[in-house]
């Protein structure tokens, strides 16, 4: 069997390699950063325009009141689930191979949540009054509506985001201490000193650290599941054909894990290349991630088919009409594309040879995420265009450039945050990689001892 990591990497080398990624960036980094900034600028410009003129510039209309904002919001929420999966679930399951890659996955969680939050905001017709949806004691003596799934959403996302930030930070403390100890001047030193909370690696610290980390991880897992279940409730709790589906929560969670894993593959490949992390982000790990992704893809496909089947065989004629409309109406190209990307493309991952084919996996992972984005759009829009009330069917509505601009901008925003993170914080967990190396060498030693003993 291939090794997830070489057991003979010196610990100092690990420190050196990872800390090197924090050093003065290459020009390519700046280029990427600038491009991301420009993309974000486009989105920001669109929002300023929309804020001033009104939501009409998004080219939404009366039957068709939601559009890409909500679809992209779900997409980013979904994206966030990967980090939790890798860092919390796999942590509990003692899957060792997660260690070199969970840090950036966890960062991805945080940043995609921060991106998703923006979409909730830009979606609001009266952004400046968003605080009406926040439960706090106020001079109006009013409360928001606790029945509304949208309110649950806001609460769940906020909780998830804060928990994710804590989890990310707590898990990073020993590494911050390493960074502190290896950097001798400048703002970084101050920053790491502050954030490392006086970590010295004593036994007591390690013990408390483990307990805390484990607790937060345990807390985070149900939260992650509930967040996307609640997002699913936005739809499942409504009465609209195509939305009113009982299986939406697990379907959404599966979809979330799916798109998250695909995004991990993408970022895995990028980071491995950009920061030269070949030693840590090894092919066997990639293979494991790909296999995991494939498994989730099949789960998603199954749930997807269940959804179609339950609509098809039910007596809900309106829902059936929406399904037919998805497959044959103006959204058909996107709907078929989504099914292709979501269920057919991952089949490539079955082929062993392809699992470590970097260009191919890179392309596949992008396609998977395209499919998942389309999935969200195909959940939101066709129901509006072909709802219960035939008089208001609107098959011609098409998102305006403002909507596309903001979707585009959100990728810039995410990239921006991620790029900054990578240069400020170690994107590979040094202490856990060391653990991994140590465990492997220990295992090796044991084996050797055992072999010796046999002789």
């Amino acid at each position: 069997m291939e090794k997830d990591i070489r057991e003979d990497i010196a610990w100092a080398k690990i420190n050196g390699d990872v800390l090197k990624s924090l050093e003065t960036p290459r020009p390519l980094y700046w280029v990427i950063l600038l491009v991301a900034l420009a993309m974000f600028g486009v989105g920001l410009g669109c929002e300023i325009y929309q804020y001033n003129i009104g939501m009409g510039v998004a080219n939404l209309n009366n039957p068709h009141v939601w559009g890409l904002y909500i679809a992209t919001f779900i997409f980013w929420i979904g994206m966030s689930h990967s980090g939790t999966l890798l860092s919390a679930i796999l942590h509990l399951m003692h899957a060792d191979w997660r260690k070199p890659i969970y840090r950036f996955a966890e960062a991805m969680t945080t940043f995609s949540l921060m991106t998703a939050g923006l979409f909730v905001m830009v979606h609001l017709g009266r952004l400046w009054q968003f605080y009406y949806a926040v439960p706090y004691p106020n001079e109006r003596w009013t409360w928001p509506n606790f029945q509304s799934p949208l309110l649950w959403d806001a609460m769940a996302i906020f909780t998830y985001l804060s928990s994710s930030v804590i989890f990310l930070y707590v898990g990073m403390i020993p590494d911050l201490a390493i960074a502190r100890d290896n950097i001798h001047s400048g703002w970084r030193k101050k920053l790491y000193t502050l954030l490392a909370l006086g970590w010295e690696g004593t036994d007591r610290q390690w013990r408390n650290f483990r307990v805390t980390y484990l607790t937060v991880a345990c807390f985070l897992i149900p939260l992650a599941v509930s967040v996307h279940s609640i997002v699913a409730s936005d739809f499942a709790m409504s009465q609209q054909p195509g939305w009113h589906v009982t299986s939406f929560p697990p379907y959404f969670v599966a979809g979330a894990l799916y798109s998250g894993c695909a995004a991990i593959i993408t970022l895995f490949i990028i980071l491995r290349y950009v920061f030269k992390f070949e030693e840590y982000m090894t092919m066997p790990i990639l293979r494991k991630v790909v296999r995991l992704t494939f498994a989730i893809a099949m789960v998603w496909t199954y749930l997807n088919l269940i959804e179609y089947a339950s609509v098809w065989y039910s007596h809900d004629e309106a829902a059936k009409a929406v399904l037919i409309q998805k497959a044959t109406g103006p959204y058909a190209p996107f709907w078929w594309m989504m099914n292709f990307c979501g269920s057919v493309v991952p089949l490539l991952m079955m082929v062993k040879r392809f699992q470590t084919n970097i260009p191919m996996m890179f392309a596949v992972s992008l396609l998977l995420n395209l499919g998942m984005w389309l999935e969200r759009w195909m959940i939101v829009s066709p129901t509006f265009s072909h709802g219960y009330y035939p008089w208001t069917w609107d098959h011609f509505q098409w998102p305006s450039l403002v909507q596309w601009g903001m979707v585009f901008g959100s990728f810039g925003w995410f990239t921006l945050l991620f790029m900054v993170f990578c240069k400020v914080f170690p994107s590979v967990s040094m202490y856990e990689v060391k653990e991994m190396v140590y465990h492997r060498s220990l295992a090796l030693k044991n084996n050797e001892l055992a072999e010796k003993g046999a002789h």
Binding site: P63, S385, Y388, Y389, P390, W391, T392, W393, D394, F396
Partner: protein, 738 residues
């Protein structure tokens, strides 16, 4: 209730607690403010008991949106008229209004109203003071002799009409051209011949079957709000026997869309259908008068079916229904009259009423107006031809236009605009700078109907004769506008100073005129002030109970119907101009509520369209939204196509009312002017323009637009859902319904 009109104007002054500004600020400011807004008392000087800020007062008046003369009640608050409701005491509209009437406030508050007298010389426009304007008019009419001063007006009635008549009298002119672009003038003439009255009273509510030959009495014909009231009763019926409506026309009107059976008839063959029904009635055993029997003999069901496209079975069914359910009522409308033989069509239809014995039962004589000088003078399309002719001949030196927009609505063949140019001095009384006002030398700005005094005698009075009062509902918005009565009075004071010196203004004249005839207006025995007050507060003065009588009986003699017209190979389709309930003849095109109110049948807004039957469209290869070119011998326009099942395949239809080049911000450049296509073909008997006689050809231009309409992607389909449900009389029990 109110002391006198002049004072009331003061009360109505906008002095208030600025409601509008308050309302507009909307949801913006969310916190308590202090000392930012100004608040003054409602009326600074004196305050009548009824004027309470925050509480609406209703004043009765008369709607000016069409000639039906509905009685309305204006809701007035803080000195502003906010909304118009129907006057519940009105025999015409019984508290109801149509959409057009509701939009009356938009004619009043319209930002595009003319606000100053304007003198236009050589392309230059300058503002003018009223006394200068009057002096100028005096100079010009002084330089013309008798009939060289001509008047072109819309339908006129009431005391404004009296003043017009007197002024013409003073000038020695008899050139009064009364013009209405879409009025049922042929039917009026035919009625006169058949029944002895222009417009008999119709009792739709008493009929058990109504057969309407294209009379859109629910949409735009004569007095739609009144007929809608009758229609509601007719549908409720008596003893649970619901009235049956059969509509026979080539293009479905709003009334057609509400019919139990809508029969698409080949354009122009309405009279043949009527005779066919008579024939079928005879065959069904009804005894026909000899002359009628002789006339209808040739019209057996098969032939009629062949000529008209209405199946023989339908004709027989209709005859059976008419025979079984009496009384019935047959109405001839614009679809029947719009042909060169329109009068003959209408006569044949009247004959059907005679055969069915409806005359005297559901067709009744109208009330007699005891003061003929205030009675309505209805407009004719032929007036325009006559005027155009005399203008072309240089016989008109001064032309006054009021309540008519002939430059917009004249058929191209009349070359009206060109001939108008030959008139040296043209005075337009105008609310808007419409196409006719644009051509005038002097434009006099009119008060809106919510600012002026006046009286109206409706053309169609459902009960006894009534004089409708129009009174100001609020202070003038613009100080330099004048009521038409005031203008005419000022002009008369120039010509006959002695007769009118006692009257400061039209209000004084009107009050005097009404009080003089107090006894005849139901005020015998009351003192002047009380009577005047009561009349104003009611908004209606009764003019006696005298009813006329139907002086004639429809006769078969002289009636001959031509064979159905052969298709014209160069212009194979017939254009049916559609008078929409929203825009009528186009004078309301600048009222945005009406532009945004979807056409009931197509649901199209803000545009003109070309309706065609799916089979016609298929033949032409046209789909919805294709820009098609419609050409007649007189003109060519381009408009979007709309595929519409309710039209005969031999015809296309376009709505009237849009395509203004000059009117206001909401009207200009919207749609195309269908009037521009009309051929100058007239009804042979009356000389009235036959609206449906225009032959057109339609070709694709290759351009396509999205038709802007309320109807969505599903079109008129309910997709199998239970939304607008229909049942039939045999499946429903109507007796006992609340």
């Amino acid at each position: 209730m109110i002391e006198n009109g002049i004072n009331r104007r003061d009360f109505l002054k906008v002095m208030g607690w600025g409601g509008a500004a308050v309302a507009l600020a909307g949801c913006g400011n969310t916190s308590v403010q202090d000392g930012k807004e100004i608040v003054t008392s409602y009326a600074s000087l004196d305050l009548p008991e009824y004027a309470i800020p925050g509480i609406s007062v209703y004043f009765n008046s008369t709607c000016a949106q069409c000639d039906a003369g509905c009685n309305i009640a204006g809701r007035v608050r803080e000195g502003r008229v906010l909304k118009l409701e129907g006057n519940p005491a009105s025999p015409i509209n019984r508290g109801k209004t149509c959409g057009l009437g509701q939009a009356g406030v938009q004619a009043h508050y319209n930002p595009d109203r003319v606000r100053q007298p304007l003198l236009r010389t050589g392309g230059k426009t300058e503002e003018l003071a009223w006394d200068k304007a009057f002096a100028l008019i005096n100079e010009k009419v002084g330089g013309a002799k008798g009939n060289e001063v001509a008047f072109l007006t819309g339908g006129l009635s009431g005391h404004a009409k009296v003043l017009f008549t007197n002024y013409m009298d003073a000038l020695g002119s008899k050139s009064h051209y009364v013009y209405e672009a879409v009025a049922p003038s042929v039917v009026r003439a035919a009625n006169k011949k058949a029944y002895g009255v222009e417009m008999p009273r119709l009792h739709i509510d008493k009929a058990r079957v109504v057969v309407s030959f294209g009379a859109d009495f629910l949409g735009a014909w004569v007095s739609p709000v009144h007929f809608s009231q009758q229609y509601a009763q007719f549908r409720k019926g008596s003893n649970g026997q619901r009235g049956v409506l059969v509509q026979i026309e080539s293009k479905m009107t709003l009334t057609g869309a509400n019919a139990d059976r809508w029969l698409a008839v080949r354009p122009g063959t309405e009279g043949i259908v009527a005779l066919g029904v008579i024939h079928a009635l005879g065959e069904a055993g009804m005894s026909l008068p000899a002359d009628v029997a002789a006339l209808s003999k040739a019209y057996d069901a098969e032939r009629v079916s062949k000529d008209t496209g209405v199946s023989a079975e339908q004709i027989k069914k209709l005859a059976t229904l008419l025979k079984e359910r009496t009384p019935s009522l047959v109405i001839a409308g614009s679809a029947a009259e719009g042909y060169a033989h329109g009068s003959q069509n209408a006569a044949a239809i009247a004959l059907l009423n005679r055969v069915l014995g409806n005359i005297g039962k559901t067709i009744d004589a109208p009330a007699t107006v005891p003061f003929p000088q205030v009675a309505v003078e209805t407009g004719k399309r032929s007036a325009l031809e006559a005027l155009s002719g005399s203008m072309a001949g240089g016989a008109v030196k001064v032309l006054f236009t009021y309540a008519a927009n002939p430059v917009y609505s004249a058929p191209a063949a009349l070359k009206f605009k060109e001939n108008l140019g030959k008139v040296p001095f043209k005075v337009a009384f105008a609310h808007f700078m419409d196409e006719t006002a644009q051509e005038a030398d002097l434009v006099l700005p009119l008060d809106s109907a919510m600012e002026e005094w006046g009286t109206v005698v409706p053309e169609y009075m459902p009960e006894t004769a009534q004089l409708n009062i129009r009174q100001p509902l609020m202070e003038r918005l613009h100080t330099e506008t004048r009521g038409v009565g005031d203008i005419m009075l000022a002009l008369l004071k120039q010509s006959r100073p002695n007769d009118y010196k006692d009257f400061d203004d039209f209000y004084a004249y009107l009050r005097n005129a009404i009080l003089k005839n107090k006894a005849a207006l139901g005020g015998a025995g009351t003192d002047d002030d009380t009577f005047w007050m009561e009349t104003l507060s009611k908004g209606i003065a009764p003019m006696g109970t005298a009813m006329g009588k139907l002086a004639a009986t429809p006769a078969a003699s002289g009636l001959s119907l031509p064979a159905p017209a052969e298709a014209d190979s160069a212009y194979p389709l017939r254009l049916i101009p559609y008078v929409t309930p929203n825009l009528r003849d186009g004078r309301h095109a600048n009222q945005p509520w009406l532009q945004e109110s979807p056409d009931p049948l197509t649901t199209i807004v803000w545009d003109t369209w070309v309706e065609m039957h799916p089979s016609t469209a298929a033949k032409l290869g046209v789909v919805e939204g294709d820009i098609v070119e419609v050409s007649s011998r007189s003109g060519t326009v381009q408009a979007q196509a709309y595929i519409f099942p309710g039209i005969h395949p031999d015809a296309i239809s376009m709505p009237l009312g849009n395509g203004h080049t000059s009117m206001g911000r909401w009207a200009n450049g919207v749609g195309v002017n269908t009037f521009a296509l009309l051929d100058q073909v007239v009804d042979k008997d009356t000389g009235e323009l036959a609206l449906n006689e225009t032959q057109v050809k339609v070709s694709k231009t290759g351009k396509r637009v999205i038709v802007v309409k309320d109807e969505g992607f599903a079109g008129g389909s309910q997709a199998g859902k239970k939304i607008a449900v229909r049942t039939s009389t045999d499946k429903v029990e109507l007796t006992g319904e609340v």
